[in-house]
Amino acid sequence: MTASDVAPVISVRALTKRFGDLVAVDALTFEVQRGEVFAFLGPNGSGKSTTIRMLCGILEPTSGEGRVLGFDIAREGERVKQQIGYMSQRFALYEDLTVRENLEFYAGVYQVAGASLSGRLDELMTMAGLQDRQGQLAGSLSGGWKQRLALGCAIVHNPPLLFLDEPTAGVDPVSRRRFWTMIYGLAQGGVTVFVTTHYLDEAEHANRVAMIHGGTLRALASPAELKRSAMQGQLLNVTCASPMEAAALLERAPGVNEVALYGAAIHVLVDPTRTSEESVSDWLSDHGIAVGNVAPIEPTLEDVFVSLIGTATVATGQSTTR
C-alpha cells in the first residue's frame, strides 16, 4: 500500500465559513476515507451545502484548512477539479439540451475524448436507464430521470471522489432507492461518496454519518455506533390518550431524560436504573392519562438526532414514516 492509499480522501481541520455575522460552518474537523459513503446529515440551513461548496473549491473558507485528494482546498482548488464530481442541490442540467447533449457537453468539458467517449456515454445512459430518452430535452424529464442524468453528468470523467448535495430531494421513493443502488455500485468500484441529506433513513445507508447542526458537528460515527453510544439509557415507545398532554407530563416524571412526540406516539428516553416501563405507565395513569402500551424499542437515527439536537423540530415524518 502506498501513502496515498491510506491517506484520507478528505481531511478538514477547524473549517469555518462566515457570511457577515452568520457563522454558517463552525470549526468542522473530520476525515473521510477512501471508498466510504459518508453522509452529512443536518436540517435546513445547518451548513451542509456551504461545507460541500468549500470542499469543491467554489467557496473560500473564512478560516481553517482542508485537503481534498491531497490538495489544499484554498490554494490548489484548480488541481482537484478534474478528479471530483459534483452534483449540486438543484440538478444543474441544460434544460434546452437533450439527454445525450448534456452528457456530451460535460464529457467535452472534462475532456473525455476519442474512442472512449461513445462507450462511456452508452455506459452512463445504461446505468441511468436513459437509453430510450437520449433525444429527449432534459427540461421535459421528470424528477427521478433528471436526478439520474445529473449524476451521469457528474461522473462522466470517472472521478474517484463524488460530492452529492441533497441528491434525492424532491424525488419519489422508488427513484430514491434506484439512485442509492447506483451510489452503492459506485462505492463498490472504489469511489468515495460524500453525500448530504436531511432524510434520516438515507443516512442509515452510509458507512459513517456526520450530524451537523447550526454549522457545528454534533456526532460522527457509523449509524450503528451512533445509536449505541449517543443514546444514554433505554428508549421506550408510549401510546396513550392525549399524547401532547402526556408528553408534557412525562417531562417532569422521575428518571425520564428526554421526551419526543412521534405522531400519535411518544418516544421516552429513560434511565433504566431509576425507572421502568411499569413505573412510566403507572405514572401516567396516576395523572389521569389512559395508557395504551409502553414498550422498549431500538432507537432510529432520528431518535439520535433529536437527542443530540435537543428539539423535536427536525425533519421528522418524511423519513421515518416512509
Binding site: K81, A92, L97
Partner: protein
C-alpha cells in the same frame, strides 16, 4: 483547452438554435429594425414653413412656387429679398425650408437649358429634411414635366433641377444616413445583451456553479461564450446589409474587409460591457435593465438619432465617452463616403483604446467573480 472551449461553443449554438427568442433577435430583429427605422425616417411631415427668395419673378417661377404651396407639404410663410434673409429665417426657426430662384430661372427654361433652383433645408431634424427634399424633388419634377409638355423631343432640356443645400448637418441628407447607425446599434445591442444573458442565464439556473467545479478556466468559458455571439452579431450585420441593399438600395461604398475589421474592434467594448453586466446581475431581468441603461446614452448621444453638431457643447463632450460615437463616424465614413483608414484613424484610435480598456477590465473582473 480548445476542446473545452469547443464544447462551450457547440452547446451555445445548440441553445441559440433551440431558443426562438434568441433566434429572432439574431435574424428577424435587424431586418425589422431596419425597415421600421427606414420608414420612420420617411414618415411624412407636412406644412413645413417655407420662405421664398424669387429673383426671377416670371411665369415659370410663379408656377413652381404655387406648386410648392399647393401640395400641402409646405406652408409659404413669406417672400424675402436676399439669401441672407432666407438663412436668417431658418436660423430663427421661422422657416424650415427656403426656396431660392435665381434671376435666370425662367429664361433658362425658355432657352431649353437646365434651370437651377435651390432648396435650403434645416438639417437638424433629419425627418424634416428628408421630407422637404423628397417633396421638393417631386414638385420640381412635376413642374419640370409640365413645362416640357409642348416639346417632348428635347426631354433633358428645359428641366428644372433642384439643388439641395442642407444647413447644420449636410450629411443628414439621405435615408442612407441611418443605415450605418443602425448597423452599429445592432452590433452593440446583440453582443452586449446576448453575452450578458448567456452567462446570467447559467447563473440563474445553477449551471454556472456546476461549471465552476469543472476544470474549465474562466477565460475559456469567456471565450466560449463570446465567440458564438460575435458570430451571430456578424450574421445580423449581414442581414442588415442585405436588407439595406435589396430594400433601400444602399450599397457599401468603401472596403467591406475594413468594415469587418473595425467592427471587431468596436465589439471589444460592447462585449466588455456585456461581461461586466453579467458579473453584477443575478437575473436576466436585472441584466436587461442594466443593458437598457447602458444603451440609452449610446442611442441618444452617439449621433445615431440626433446630429451631434446640434448638441450643446457639454453633451457633445459626453458623447466622446461613448464608443458608438467613434464607430458611427467610422461606419458612415466607410459605407457612405467610401473612405479608408487614412481618414478614419482619428476615430479608430479612441475606439481601440476604449475597446482594450473596457474589455480588459471586464475580463479581469469576470475572472475574479467566477473563481
Amino acid at each position: 483547452m480548445w476542446s473545452r472551449i469547443r464544447s462551450i461553443i457547440r452547446k451555445e449554438f445548440i441553445q441559440i438554435r433551440r431558443d426562438p427568442r434568441t433566434l429572432a433577435m439574431v435574424l428577424a430583429l435587424p431586418a425589422l429594425q431596419l425597415l421600421l427605422f427606414g420608414y420612420a425616417f420617411n414618415t411624412v411631415v407636412d406644412h413645413l414653413p417655407l420662405v421664398i427668395f424669387d429673383e426671377s419673378k416670371d411665369a415659370y417661377s410663379r408656377q413652381l412656387i404655387s406648386a410648392f404651396g399647393n401640395t400641402g407639404y409646405f406652408d409659404i410663410r413669406g417672400h424675402v429679398d436676399s439669401r441672407e434673409a432666407v438663412a436668417a429665417a431658418i436660423d430663427a426657426g421661422d422657416a424650415k425650408v427656403g426656396l431660392v430662384l435665381p434671376p435666370r430661372f425662367g429664361d433658362d427654361i425658355l432657352r431649353r437649358q437646365v434651370s437651377l433652383a435651390q432648396l435650403i433645408v434645416d438639417g437638424s431634424d433629419p425627418n424634416t429634411a428628408q421630407t422637404a427634399l423628397f417633396a421638393g424633388w417631386m414638385i420640381a419634377a412635376a413642374v419640370s414635366e409640365s413645362v416640357q409638355q409642348p416639346n417632348v423631343v428635347a426631354a433633358r432640356q428645359g428641366a428644372i433641377e433642384l439643388r439641395p443645400v442642407v444647413l447644420y448637418n449636410p450629411s443628414m441628407l439621405s435615408v442612407n444616413f441611418m443605415i450605418p447607425g443602425l448597423i452599429g446599434l445592432i452590433l452593440q445591442f446583440q453582443t452586449l445583451i446576448l453575452t450578458a444573458f448567456a452567462i446570467v442565464r447559467e447563473r440563474e439556473r445553477g449551471t454556472l456553479e456546476q461549471l465552476v467545479v469543472t476544470p474549465i478556466k474562466s477565460w475559456e468559458l469567456m471565450i466560449g461564450k463570446i465567440i458564438p455571439y460575435v458570430a451571430t452579431a456578424f450574421m445580423a450585420v449581414a442581414v442588415a446589409l442585405l436588407v439595406a441593399r435589396v430594400w433601400f438600395g444602399v450599397e457599401t461604398a468603401g472596403s467591406l474587409p475594413l468594415l469587418v475589421l473595425l467592427s471587431s474592434l468596436f465589439l471589444l467594448s460592447s462585449l466588455g460591457i456585456g461581461l461586466f453586466i453579467s458579473t453584477i446581475s443575478q437575473t436576466q431581468t436585472q441584466a436587461m435593465q442594466l443593458a437598457v441603461f447602458v444603451m440609452l446614452p449610446s442611442v441618444l448621444l452617439s449621433g445615431f438619432m440626433f446630429p451631434r453638431e446640434s448638441m450643446p457643447w457639454i453633451i457633445q463632450q459626453l458623447g466622446l465617452l461613448i464608443p458608438l460615437t467613434y464607430f458611427l463616424q467610422i461606419l458612415r465614413g466607410i459605407m457612405l463616403k467610401g473612405v479608408g483608414l487614412e481618414v478614419l484613424w482619428g476615430s479608430v484610435v479612441p475606439l481601440a483604446i476604449f475597446g482594450v480598456a473596457v474589455f480588459g477590465l471586464s475580463a479581469a473582473r469576470f475572472r475574479k467573480r467566477l473563481g
